[in-house]
Subunit: 227 residues, 2 copies
DNA sequence: CCCTTCGACTTACAATGTAAGGCGCCTTAC
DNA sequence: GTAAGGCGCCTTACATTGTAAGTCGAAGGG
């Protein structure tokens, strides 16, 4: 909560930063003009001096996140193309993990933040420099989808079927599901018993993300060599 | 609009079907209880006899879409594992293209529709039958993400940078962007001039989707053979 | 002094989801 | 016949949310 006795003047940057902090703390649904204004110690209508509408605020919020990402994932100075892409994608992912609401919000936007243009121009440049054709670079951009930002939309997670990443409770859940979902339960059971370190759980989103990324990079590399 | 003089009784199915139709026609934002009720020729509060809340309505709407998808993408009777997966993924995509708002809505949900569980159980089963280990099948599920439903979240589309898929207007847009985005504009220019059939445009989401899917299937096949 | 600009606040209203209660019709039981 | 209960709808009311339009006080300039 802002301290009303010592009041720092509002600015567009302060408004957007407070909005990001609120979304981080309580999710995008909690981000209302009244709630945000309360956090800033002002009246809701005052925000409209800085952002023309709620929609513009949300655009600005995403722009802020992507700017943070651009700063945290600078262009690697050296390295082979795959290493450079990988390094930057993973750095971006670390930022996005701090704002888990961002991918969902992004699907509601009609515009692309400026930092995204620059980032993809760099990706295309890196691919072209590595010998990819323009056509294959185009293909790669689509194949990467949202991986350059460290997230991928998954409709279904095996962990959701297991009901829990905790081996004790998941064991009972699995038994209940075995008849309806025989293959998934077998797979989950196998993964749970095969997990090396129980404290990490059997389903680690970081490992899965890197696996998918490497799968795509390997495939693209093969196509490049074949040109 | 419903005809109020001859009134068919409401049912949960009618409510959900009307909601899907409204979202298809005008997007999810137009889907309010009052609007939906108007379309059905009843008063908004009457809907609550069939769905306990707006949130439940949205869950039901997605359940309806996924049920449609399950019916339209039946298990292939025969074929090699890749062919079967591919056939079903593409059939699912055809359905999802009729409901372009569905992926976005899905990100706001906390539950998974039942048809999704069954579909993924089939996918895991298909992979296991083809000789994939449980571990690799688990990896594949994450790698596929939302591809089994024919969509993938793309933050950035090269077409968005070009400003238009129409070669005439895009040419001018590109010239304006060349200094800020040199690699992207070069790539877009190349793709536009290389497009075989101008009426299809230089960026075809179906082609791109199939490219990405095949890239992943190829990669997974290699890992399978290496086990 | 007056005027203008800036940055905040106030008042009001439309839109949205929905709690709570009411009403008419139909069915069942006595 | 009447009474009671259930069903499926409607009405009234209210809290919340975004925001249009206008007001006000402070500061700066002429």
């Amino acid at each position: 909560m802002a301290d009303k006795t010592i009041r720092e003047p509002l600015s567009r940057e302060r408004v957007l930063a407070a909005a990001v902090a609120l979304a981080d703390a309580e999710g995008v649904k909690a981000l209302t003009m009244r709630r945000l204004a309360t956090d800033l110690g002002v009246e809701a209508m005052s925000l409209y001096f800085y952002v023309p509408s709620k929609e513009a605020l949300l655009d600005g919020v995403l722009g802020t996140v992507f700017a943070e990402l651009a700063a945290a994932a600078p262009e690697p100075a050296e390295g082979e193309w795959r290493t450079r892409l990988r390094r930057r994608f993973l750095a971006a992912r670390a930022v996005m993990l701090r704002h888990p609401w961002a991918p969902g919000l992004l699907t509601t936007r009609g515009t692309i933040p400026p930092d995204v243009f620059a980032y993809f121009d760099w990706i295309v440049g890196t691919l072209l420099d590595a010998g990819f054709s323009h056509h294959l670079a185009h293909r790669a951009i689509h194949a990467f989808g949202s991986l350059p930002f460290g997230f991928a939309q998954e409709v279904f997670s095996p962990a959701a079927a297991g009901g829990s990443l905790d081996p004790d409770t998941a064991e009972a859940d699995l038994a209940a599901l075995a008849e309806a979902l025989p293959h998934i339960t077998a797979m989950v059971a196998h993964e749970m018993h095969g997990a090396g370190d129980p404290t990490l759980g059997w389903c680690d989103s970081q490992v899965e993300f890197e696996f998918t990324l490497d799968l795509l990079l390997d495939g693209l590399d093969r196509l490049r060599a074949r040109r």
